[in-house]
């Protein structure tokens, strides 16, 4: 009984490490195909369109609303201390450091990651990937690499758009509706937000999240069981794993960047 449980546990552990190993091999193959990106640059552009441009609407809309909520909540708290001029600092620091990279990565996982997995999984299920191999075209270079690099490239841009739009949303609520002085909103922000410590760290975070989310999405699609059920499971796993990975990685990165 105990031995059976232990064996089961060991089996699961082996499976996890096996998948991790396969994912790492896939990642190294994708990076091995980085040189094929240049002659097939239009593929890369098309993937940026499907991964980045089509995520733009959800990112902008949620950015505006997150910024507006931050403005409202921040104002209600700060006004008790007579420090509502610091609203800009509250809104911009929370967005640039945390919410911009994290929330946009979560949205990105839901919007683009799931689509990537489903697309690649379906290509596998309908044996398009095998057909490519038959024609001596490496599907990792032809299909996966452009998608991975497009995600890696789009994520920081999406996070930056999210933060910028959110700051404007906070500005709209704080200055437009609640009557915070607009110069104070910007001047306090400019005084407290540092280019390197805050903005660059936010960009680094979003690059890391983009890496993790697209890696998981591409791997789950490539590794999916080639049936309709397998593809649906892989899509679910992509969203769950990448959300968990983003939140966990965020803690580690925050501890490294800001926790000294």
């Amino acid at each position: 009984m105990i031995l059976a449980t232990l064996q089961h546990l060991g089996q699961r552990g082996m499976q996890v490490f096996e998948r991790l190993g396969r994912a790492s091999i896939l990642l190294s193959r994708i990076f091995g195909g980085i040189h094929t990106l240049v002659p097939r640059f239009s593929l890369f552009i098309h993937q940026i369109h499907s991964v980045g441009v089509l995520s733009l609407v959800i990112i902008v809309v949620s950015g505006v609303f997150v910024g507006m909520v931050l403005g409202l909540q921040g104002y209600n708290t700060l006004v008790d201390f007579g420090a509502e001029e610091s609203l800009g600092v509250v809104v911009s620091l929370s967005l640039v450091r945390e919410l911009g990279p994290v929330v946009s990565a979560l949205l990105f996982a839901g919007r683009a990651g799931s689509a990537l997995t489903a697309e690649i999984g379906l290509m596998k299920a309908t044996e398009q990937l095998s057909a490519m191999e038959m024609m001596a075209v490496d599907p990792v270079h032809r299909v996966l690499a452009p998608r991975f690099f497009a995600g890696l490239f789009s994520m920081p841009l999406l996070a930056a758009i999210f933060s910028a739009v959110g700051v404007l949303g906070g500005f709209f609520v704080g200055v437009g509706l609640l009557g915070v002085d607009d110069g104070a909103y910007w001047s306090q922000m400019q005084a407290k937000v540092d280019l390197y410590d805050d903005i660059m760290n936010g960009v680094i975070k979003s690059i890391a999240f983009g890496w993790v989310v697209t890696w998981i999405a591409v791997f789950e699609g490539y590794d999916a069981v080639p049936t309709s059920e397998g593809v649906s499971r892989a899509t679910t796993r992509t969203v769950v794993y990448s959300s968990l990975a983003v939140l966990g990685l965020d803690f580690i990165l925050t501890a490294l960047m800001f926790g000294d």
């Binding site: 940026i48 420090a83 001029e85 841009l157 930056a160 110069g183 910007w186 400019q190 805050d198 903005i199």
Partner: protein, 201 residues
């Protein structure tokens, strides 16, 4: 969707992303030169301008009439030189207005409060000229000296004017330090007074 439209959309996306990054960076580096508001520039020297920031409001009677555009150290006179941009419609501020640095709220940000003088303070023109000569005058002060004569004719602050009467920002540590040192000296004196009395008894 044709390749062309896809490429255009990607171009828009990349441009928007870079513009957002640029905007985030601009907020920090105070490169906000795009505030191309019309107005005129005046100067004021403060011995202590701590807490004042670029883009801090300049108010008169509690109403914002301009912004601080530059704060720098004047190495000749060893004081802080504050440049303010006043909105164009407020062009009737008396020359002998005074500038003070106040704090909004208990922990709020610093701002400059202008208080109007008696108006047409040109009877002091000679005194001001003397003062100017005595101080020696730095870069902007020279421009200010030239503008002073014109000021006295119009009686209003204008482009390049320098506000003479200034009051520094209150620094809590200094205030507490003064209070403590005063308290200690008065106590010492009190103790000194008490001792002879004790001896007399």
């Amino acid at each position: 969707m044709t390749t062309r439209t896809t490429e255009i959309w990607v171009g828009i996306f990349v441009a928007a992303g870079l513009a957002s990054l640029f905007m985030l960076a601009m907020k920090v580096s105070n490169l906000s030169a795009f505030s191309g508001d019309e107005g005129y520039t005046i100067y004021a020297r403060f011995e202590d301008a701590s807490g004042l920031k670029v883009r801090s409001p300049v108010t008169m009677g509690g109403v914002r009439i301009g912004r601080v555009t530059d704060i720098r150290f004047d190495p000749q006179q060893l004081v802080a030189m504050v440049t303010m941009r006043i909105e164009k419609q407020y062009d009737t501020l008396p020359v002998d207005s005074s500038a003070s640095i106040y704090t909004a709220g208990l922990l709020g940000e610093k701002y400059i409060g202008l208080e109007p003088g008696a108006g047409g303070g040109c009877e002091d023109a000679d005194l001001e000229a003397e003062l100017e000569a005595e101080l020696g005058g730095g870069g902007p002060a020279d421009a200010g000296a030239a503008a002073d004569a014109a000021d006295c004719q119009s009686g209003y602050l204008r482009e390049g004017s320098v506000i003479k009467l200034t009051q520094d920002s209150l620094v809590l540590e200094k205030l507490i330090g003064q209070f403590v040192s005063q308290f200690l000296t008065s106590k010492e004196e009190g103790g000194g007074d008490a001792a002879p009395q004790g001896a007399a008894q």
